[in-house]
């Protein structure tokens, strides 16, 4: 079982990296993109626990360490392999 975790900047938080990538995409001729926001993708693997337990552990990990509540939001999905 695996947790797929997505961490992104909260709305209203400046994302200079996303902005730079957006300019670069425009510069190479890829148009029609409104905005680019950069975030993080994290995978965690579990063995021998229930989906609920995995979800609980993932949520605690995000709250306590993986995401900064001041600037970031997170979401995740638990997938069976």
């Amino acid at each position: 079982m695996k947790a797929k975790i997505y961490i992104s900047y909260k709305e209203g938080i400046l994302d200079p990296q996303g902005k730079t990538v957006s300019h670069a995409l425009d510069a190479i001729g890829i148009k029609k993109i409104n905005s680019v926001r950069m975030g993080k993708y994290i995978e965690m693997e579990f063995n021998g626990i229930s989906k609920d337990k995995a979800s609980e552990i993932t949520d605690e990990s995000c709250r306590k360490l993986l995401a900064n509540p001041n600037t970031e939001t997170y979401s995740f999905e638990i997938v069976e392999e």
Partner: protein, 223 residues
Amino acid sequence: MHFAVIVFPGSNCDHDAYHVFRHILEVPVDFVWHKETKLNKYDAIIIPGGFSYGDYLRTGAIARFSPVMESVIKEARTGKPVFGICNGFQILIESGLLPGALIINRDVRFLSQDVTLEVDSIDSIYTRSLKKGHKLTMPIAHKQGNFIADENTLKMLEDEDRIAFRYSKDKNGNPNGSTNRIAGILNKKRNVLGMMPHPERAVESILGSDDGIDIFKSMIGIA
């Protein structure tokens, strides 16, 4: 005044800070490894700059959970001076001792250059011997030093006179793009200071500037 300089895996300005106290101010100072859990014998704590834990995940995010941080937080709550410089500032924010966040610089680059700071609040142990508006030159060396905070936090910092240092108003004065030109902030009790620029690297004229020494002299009460 007995100083502790906390050392994390990846700290790299710990020796600069140690040098200030041991060799320039000639006051007692110890390196304290991050696995230590007792800090009660020290009168002030320095969280130095560097790249603790390789800046993995977020700057300061992993160091914040080092064993020593519980004691740092405890001592800070009793009113003991805790001074975080650069990565130390990032760690203090992650640990909740200071508000806001330090995100990647406006131009998405690591910046290593001198900056001019303006002393803003003089109501702290760190700035009590300085004059408001006084200009200090010292280096910055960081990629995540762009200070941001939500509107309420910014208003609180401004209203409570908790901005110790700002980058100067000059063109190119605020190279990382910090909100309100904020370079260093105090906690509510005014005993915790975090700043991105490096006063400990500007303590002897041979280093290009000795403006930083005034902050440390202020701490130990010699103007």
